[in-house]
């Protein structure tokens, strides 16, 4: 059998393309996967869940660019997701702009904010960088909660649909949003892949490995790091905007540190440093989260004795435990495990190179 690791780059792109075509056809098909999806694939409920899982895959990809490629452990990535969601929601509510100009205005705000906050936080590296980004995100969280007039406070912000085209509103049109989510995933994937293969991408990867050496070679790491930071933030904000449209609103949870941790968990589950891993992680995490929540409310759990019932009725407990086990026993996450399976547990030259890159 030809091992997975030896498939060429082009084959991987073709497999990916086939998956995209299949995913695009799902709303037209009647496929039921009991236990994984809540209903047949053409029903709005299932499409909503699938679109959500695609959005989480996009978000994980944007975080992959930050953490996997550039090696910047940020605890404030949720801030830019929330900036997209709340920004668009507020612009649509407070102004008479239609959707496209509103998107553009929000995007401009996000770019400026990401540039300013990024250049501030990138003055420090490592754990201090993580703390600064966490602190900025926390400030965002406080601002959202303290200004109920603008953001809806704890209640969250409802989407104002007066200036939104009809084909994006209502349960019947969930599949349009699903297709847009799929398109966004493709766009985010291409942007991330393009950045990783660009000169700036190579420079930023080199900086992750050895910043001093990059400096000695005469390059300035700050610029490329800031570029990666801004691109990742803009991608996250796009996901936030679509999330607002899909969920018809947003809540302060989107600004919380827990939300960033969720993205981090997804990326690590999928496999740090792997684009496919981030996508698979995002989809699996969303489906798992939804199914575990459904399981928690089911009769089978309610009948168990307290010592089993309490842990099993908390999806986050199961996901958190799973996460710890993956970090301890499955380095490289899902992507790493697949790679090892494909090579029959032997380290191929390619895998060794990737491992060395990941170190």
């Amino acid at each position: 059998m030809k091992s997975l690791a030896r498939l060429s780059q082009r084959t991987w792109w073709m497999i990916g393309g086939a998956f995209v075509v299949l995913a695009a056809l799902l709303p037209l098909l009647n496929i039921s996967i009991p236990g994984v999806l809540p209903g047949a694939t053409y029903t709005p409920g299932t499409l909503q869940l699938l679109a959500l899982s695609l959005l989480f895959a996009c978000l994980a990809l944007s975080y992959h660019l930050l953490f996997g490629t550039a090696g910047m452990l940020s605890f404030g990535h949720a801030l830019y997701f929330a900036l997209g969601a709340y920004g668009l929601g507020i612009v649509l509510k407070q102004t008479d702009l239609t959707l496209i100009p509103a998107l553009g205005l929000t995007l401009a705000i996000v770019i400026v904010a990401a540039y300013l906050l990024g250049s501030l936080s990138l003055r420090v590296t490592g754990i201090s960088f993580a703390m600064v980004t966490l602190a900025f995100a926390q400030a965002g969280n406080v601002l959202v909660r303290r200004n109920p007039g603008l953001t809806g406070g704890e209640e969250g912000l409802r989407l104002d649909t007066t200036h939104i085209p009809d084909f994006l509103v209502g349960v019947v049109n969930t599949r349009n949003l699903y297709w847009i989510s799929l398109a966004l995933l493709v766009i985010v994937f291409v942007v991330v892949a393009w950045f990783e293969h660009s000169r700036a991408g190579h420079a930023v990867t080199a900086t992750r490995e050895n910043e001093l050496r990059v400096r000695v070679l005469g390059l300035r790491p700050f610029g490329v790091k800031l570029m990666a930071f801004v691109i990742a933030s803009v991608l996250a904000s796009l996901v936030g905007m679509l999330h607002l449209l899909l969920q018809s609103g947003t809540t302060p949870r989107a600004t919380s540190a827990d939300f960033t941790l969720t993205i981090l968990v997804i990326v690590v589950l999928g496999g740090v440093g792997s684009r496919w891993g981030a996508i698979v992680g995002g989809i699996i995490y969303t489906l798992l989260d939804q199914r575990l929540t459904a399981l928690a409310a089911s009769d089978a759990i309610a009948g168990l004795p307290a010592i089993l019932r309490i842990p099993l009725s908390e999806p986050l407990f199961i996901l958190g435990t799973l996460f710890i086990l993956v970090v301890l026993f499955l380095p490289g996450g899902i992507a790493g495990a697949v790679r090892r399976l494909g090579t029959g547990a032997q380290v191929t030259p390619l895998a060794r190179k990737q491992l060395e890159e990941a170190e």
Partner: protein, 291 residues
């Protein structure tokens, strides 16, 4: 004048709470390079343990309060030591993975506490003296502030004495300074890791019980909300510096109180601003040694 005194003492009380969390964080980071996200869970667990004890013994007596404080410390210390022994130790010197494990632990334990005790705040009972006030320079200061300050000062003195006068303390101080040298001298520095985690956990557990009296309730979110400020305190004070953590705790909490009162509830934002300024001017923090 009386307002300023009240804000100052309340700030000191809150700072005491921050210090109880930040001291452990800072020691652990200084020695092992681990940023412990599960520290908030140690605190929450200590608070719940104290509450469970107080519920059974009747919360109004002083004996119960002292017993619950001790129980909080013991629970925090045991859980922290177990965390180090079972999870952190396996990932020796892989700092990112160690942070990730504590992140997973924090998510899982908060969910578990939600399942066991529910998400709503549970109100605690305390000896009546704590809810009364004492007049100082015209300000009516709630008495629980004094308890907090006294506890934090005791903890600070105890940790300093431990670090200065015991053999383990010597190993830990040397380890913070240069870990590979300590190992090269044939000392098993890993024992010190467990001890440091236990000390940090004990301080956090004690802080949990005190926090439940300061805020008047326990909830699964208690640890997480304090943890973020403790992180900020640790960075401002300088990662790994105990004295820095003490100074920064008081500075952050007093600033927060004053900004909340005089600048219309902007305390949290001012703290973040202070962090940004400190990082711009002095990226290693007030007493941090190197980048």
């Amino acid at each position: 004048m009386s307002t300023i005194v009240l804000l100052l003492i309340t700030g000191l009380g809150l700072g005491a709470l921050y210090f109880l969390v930040a001291s452990g964080l800072s020691l652990i980071y200084g020695l092992m390079g681990v940023l412990n996200f599960a520290h908030g869970s140690f605190l929450t667990l200590g608070a719940f343990a104290g509450w469970e004890l107080a519920r059974r013994l009747g919360g109004e007596s002083w004996v119960t309060l002292i017993a619950s404080l001790l129980l909080g410390m013991v629970v925090g210390a045991i859980v922290a030591a177990a965390t180090e022994f079972l999870l952190i130790r396996r990932l020796y010197n892989r700092h990112i993975e160690q942070v990730l494990v504590t992140v997973g632990l924090a998510l899982a334990t908060v969910a578990l506490f939600d399942g066991i005790w529910g998400t709503d705040p549970i109100y605690v009972t305390a000896p009546p003296w704590l809810s009364q006030t004492t007049e100082i320079l015209g300000a009516r200061v709630p008495n629980d502030r004094f308890l907090l300050i006294a506890a934090a000062v005791l903890v600070l003195l105890a940790i300093v004495a431990f670090l200065r006068f015991t053999r383990f303390g010597l190993v830990i101080r040397a380890g913070v300074e240069n870990r590979s040298m300590v190992t090269a001298l044939g000392i098993d520095v890993r024992k010190a890791f467990t001890v440091v985690f236990a000390i940090g956990g004990a301080a956090a557990g004690l802080g949990g019980v005190l926090a439940s009296h300061y805020f008047g309730y326990v909830s699964p979110q208690l640890g997480g909300s304090l943890l973020i400020f403790a992180f900020i305190v640790t960075v401002i004070g300088g990662l790994g510096s105990l004295a820095g953590a003490a100074i920064a705790s008081v500075a952050v909490a007093v600033l927060q109180q004053f900004a909340n009162y005089f600048l219309g509830g902007t305390g949290d934002l001012m703290v973040v601003l202070l962090l940004a300024v400190v990082l711009l001017v002095r990226p290693t923090g007030i007493l941090g040694k190197k980048a």
